[in-house]
């Protein structure tokens, strides 16, 4: 089993890596590229902690092979802030105490960003169903929903 060379784009930057053909994108991001903001909670697509965008589409990076990143554009939590300026979702999560342990937070932020790109003015129910694949065990989701709604409102008025 020889490794495969992959050329891709991550958070807007060109990236090359080699990976095993059966290696999940999650492992590539974490172990080969040092993007440990992408978290592994289950490895089977059941928790959403490893959420990233591939060509704008929200996916679990544990359910994508690294080799599938060839020619793709990938976005992770590490690419959300612009230099010193946090994304409105990131700031809202801090302001609303929408994280406790914080391990689900990167995945939820990436997922919420994808939601607001598609639907800038979601109902609470739409937020909850969109984020149903992102497990959070600390917050009971209440403050997460509020933070997403606050960020959405800010982004609409920006």
């Amino acid at each position: 089993m020889s490794n495969i060379h992959v050329t891709t784009s991550i958070n807007g930057d060109p990236v090359e890596f080699v990976c095993a053909p059966d290696e999940p994108l999650l492992d590539v991001l974490r172990n080969r590229l040092g993007l440990t903001g992408v978290k592994e909670g289950c490895g089977t697509g059941d928790c959403g902690a490893c959420s990233v965008l591939v060509d704008g589409r929200l996916v679990c990076s544990c359910l994508v092979l690294g080799v599938e990143a060839e020619g793709a554009e990938i976005s992770t939590v590490e690419g959300m802030a612009e230099a010193e300026t946090l994304h409105p979702l990131q700031q809202a999560f801090i302001d609303h105490a929408a994280l406790q342990c914080g391990v689900c937070t990167p995945g939820i932020l990436v997922a919420a960003k994808a939601l607001l790109a598609k639907n800038p003015d979601p109902t609470d129910e739409e937020v909850r169903f969109w984020l149903a694949g992102n497990l959070c065990r600390c917050t009971g989701y209440d403050k997460i929903v509020r933070a997403v709604q606050d960020a959405a409102a800010q982004m609409r008025s920006a």
Binding site: L86, Q100, F129
Partner: protein, 747 residues
């Protein structure tokens, strides 16, 4: 210290909601959790686990694995020290089976290899010969004489005769003449309950990086609720001196009690020792479910007598808990907590623990209490239904208060139960109309809260900022609350303080982050350490002013002369004193270490509105309100967070979460797909009402908050479902098939 018109302390920063110090790291992905660090030359550690619920390990042949290219170490139980202390030995044997595999997923060997692929192949190459033994996973079955014996000769001296050898522990609590009490009752309800084992379900799997060198020194990075406890356990299990092992706690991706002990850390150390290289071990999710510490599973009988006007005359409970394959004292907590909310003339609780072929129990938020209180609160609710009494009025009538002899012995000091019940009664939620097919459930909850060993250093920097060094991993925002208390005491802004969590070499021992102890104990130690630093700063000001140290006091972040006789000097702020500290005697630091007591018990009341789909048995939570006495809420947003998070874990426990074992004794649902924690779309907003009944044991009145909220949801939801369906529910979880079966049996 300023007081308001009611004589309560007025706070400047405590009670505000500033941004948490670890917030930016966590929203940008920079925070480092257990699996996020690497070391040069690091190997991948993997663990081989028993596929059997109960089996004698006849032999383990590791030779083929050891011969594989890239395999650097293979270990079994032989690679650990001989441990004398029984409870530590249990932890060791839980980390690596010794002679017998006691549950599905029990570790039997481990490898360290140059890649995950090689490690995986090496596990396959290890040949284990098992002699499969009969198994038992049900607590009631395990207690019966003749049941398969999980471990022989583990019972303590107080276990009555006539049970299986699996029964390791017995306890009894209470006071008063129970028989006479029941004789006075107009109505007695007796009912038996069962609750399934649940898992804390933290999103971060256990992970650690161990590096041990040939001179016997080791460093261990791991996600844990208590690095000092990890050090104690690992040092014993490895036969090391504590000073040779430095443990650093990573950011922790949830614990809830489940990360208070060790599972993989000794294994990683043993692999690193043998391989002579750093070894990282990260559990997969199915390993987390199979081989970490779920809750006890229980079987409980409750009997309560009540007069027709709602006064409880006597109460009794028999509680049978199983903490898995090792002795477990959690039933003590259940038996003590079960009736804690009530002022009872006669009460008795009896508890037993039985061994089963399940993983060793670990703590989960208020360990032992949710199950017991679920059973008690269900029977109280049933009595209210039968006697047509308002369930809140009945609880108020019987509520424990200051001076009540608790069901577990001590007399209560200031407690917030009555205030909490009254707040619930006055709340619009309790009076909101219910739609057709909807019902309302409620329950009280209780937890003891603990203090414990605590050690804090507080360093005043020359630029007027302050570093607080504490030793308890922050699992819910405690660095923010510790900084708030330091700021309050010192009289400086919150953002001048940075609180960090020390490794085991940098600070004295701190107990595990458990028992809702951190904001209380570490906060108290921080306040004392700040006072220590303040004394020193007053001393420096006194020297500068040339007056007696006693003539200086600390007001609003500055040293000032105490009264007109002390002399007339302008106040010297903390920053001003710090700036000249090198010239006035050297660095300024405060310190405090103690074993904290007086944490102050905590009560909560939860209200839930729900509806049950009578054709499918599915329960939908419509509205949920948590009322809890938090003492002084230091950072209210994180107090709310504890209340909301605990409530939702309780909702999951009530409705869907359970360990499901097959007839073969193997765990059927070791993953988030079929171990069903609540998802966002299952829930409404969780409203919170914080009551602040000051804890007399803390200068700011702080009580523990984190555990009580998981207690009431079980019964609140069960009571709601029982009222919605007209059938009294008595088993958790109330999964749709179970509820539908009850509805159909009623006809």
């Amino acid at each position: 210290m300023a007081l308001d018109s009611n004589g309560k302390r007025v706070f400047k920063v405590v009670g505000t909601r500033p941004a948490r110090p670890d917030g930016v790291d966590k929203v940008t992905g920079r925070a480092l959790y257990g699996a996020d660090v690497s070391a040069p030359g690091m190997l991948v550690g993997r663990i081989l686990r028993s596929p059997h619920a109960h089996a004698r390990i006849v032999s383990i042949d590791t030779s083929a694995a050891e011969a594989m290219q890239g395999v650097k170490a293979v270990i079994t139980s032989r690679d650990f020290a001989v441990v004398e202390d029984a409870s530590t030995r249990d932890v060791q044997v839980n980390c690596m089976a010794d002679g017998k595999a006691l549950y599905d997923g029990h570790a039997v060997a481990a490898v360290a290899a140059t890649s995950a692929a090689v490690a995986k192949a090496a596990l396959k190459a290890i040949k284990v010969i098992y002699e499969v033994l009969p198994h038992v996973t049900d607590v009631d079955a395990a207690m019966k004489a003749g049941s398969p014996v999980v471990q022989a000769s583990r019972a303590v001296e107080n276990v009555p005769k006539g049970f299986s050898e699996n029964v390791t522990h017995h306890c009894e609590f209470g006071h008063g003449d129970v028989a006479a009490g029941f004789a006075k009752a107009d109505k007695i309800v007796s009912r038996s309950f069962k609750t399934a084992a649940t898992h804390q379900g933290y999103i971060e799997p256990h992970a650690c990086l161990a590096s041990m060198t040939s001179d016997g020194k080791a460093d261990l990075w791991c996600c844990t609720q208590g690095q000092f406890n990890v050090r104690s356990l690992c040092a014993s299990i490895m036969g090391m001196e504590a000073s040779q092992l430095r443990v650093t706690a990573s950011e922790i991706g949830g614990g809830f009690g489940g990360k208070t002990t060790v599972f993989i850390e000794p294994v990683a150390l043993a692999l690193s020792k043998k391989a002579g290289r750093p070894v990282k071990v990260v559990m997969t999710r199915d390993e987390v479910f199979k081989a970490t510490g779920p809750t006890v599973s229980t079987s409980i009988d409750v009997k309560i007598g009540m007069t027709k006007d709602g006064r409880i005359t006597a109460a009794e409970a028999h509680m049978r808990y199983s903490g898995g394959a090792f002795p477990c004292g959690t039933v003590d907590m259940g038996a003590m907590a079960g009736f804690a909310a009530y002022d009872l003339p006669a009460v008795r609780t009896y508890g037993w623990n039985a061994l089963t072929n399940r993983p060793k129990e670990a703590a989960y938020r208020a360990p032992g209490a949710p199950q017991a209180i679920y059973a008690v609160e269900s029977v109280v609710d049933e009595l209210c239904q039968v006697l047509k009494l308002d369930p809140l009025d009945v609880r108020l009538l019987n509520a424990a208060r200051k001076g009540t002899q608790s069901s577990y012995g001590p007399v209560f000091d200031d407690i917030g139960l009555v205030a909490t019940l009254e707040a619930a009664k006055a709340h619009p939620h309790y009076h909101a109309p219910l739609g057709a097919g909807q019902a309302r459930g409620l329950s009280c909850g209780f937890w003891f809260n603990f203090g414990g060993n605590t050690c804090v250093s507080l360093n005043v920097n020359t630029d007027g900022t302050v570093g607080v060094t504490e030793g308890n991993p922050d699992i819910g925002g405690s660095r923010a609350s510790i900084s708030l208390m330091a700021a309050e005491e010192l009289g400086i802004p919150y953002d001048r303080i940075r609180t960090i969590i020390a490794d085991t070499a940098s600070l004295g021992h701190n107990d595990v982050t458990d028992g809702s102890r951190v904001t209380f104990s570490v906060g108290l130690a921080t306040i004392k350490a700040a006072q220590d630093a303040i004394r020193k700063m007053c001393g420096r000001a006194a020297k500068i002013w040339g007056i007696d140290e006693e003539a200086v006091e600390w007001i609003d972040g500055a040293a000032v002369p105490a009264g007109p006789n002390a002399g007339k000097f302008p106040p010297m702020s903390l920053a001003e004193i710090a700036a000249v500290s090198f010239q006035t005697g050297g660095p300024i630091a405060g310190h405090h270490e103690f074993n904290a007591d007086g944490a102050g018990v905590s009560f909560g009341v939860h209200l839930v509105d729900l509806e049950v789909d009578k054709e499918t048995g599915a329960t939908k939570i419509l509205r949920y309100t948590v009322f809890q006495d938090a003492g002084k809420a230091v950072h209210p947003a994180y107090v709310e967070g504890q209340m909301q998070g605990g409530a939702v874990q309780g909702i999951g426990w009530a409705l869907n979460e359970e360990y499901i074992y097959g007839a073969d004794g193997r765990l059927q649902n070791a993953g988030f797909l079929d171990y069903r924690v609540p998802v966002a779309s299952d829930l409404p907003m969780i409203d919170t009402v914080i009551l602040e009944i000051p804890n007399p044991g803390h200068p700011y009145g702080v009580r523990g908050v984190g555990e009580t909220p998981i207690v009431p949801p079980l019964a609140a939801i069960s009571n709601g479902v029982s009222r919605a369906t007209g059938v009294r529910m008595s088993e958790l979880p109330m999964s749709p098939p179970r509820v539908l079966k009850a509805i159909m049996a009623r006809g």
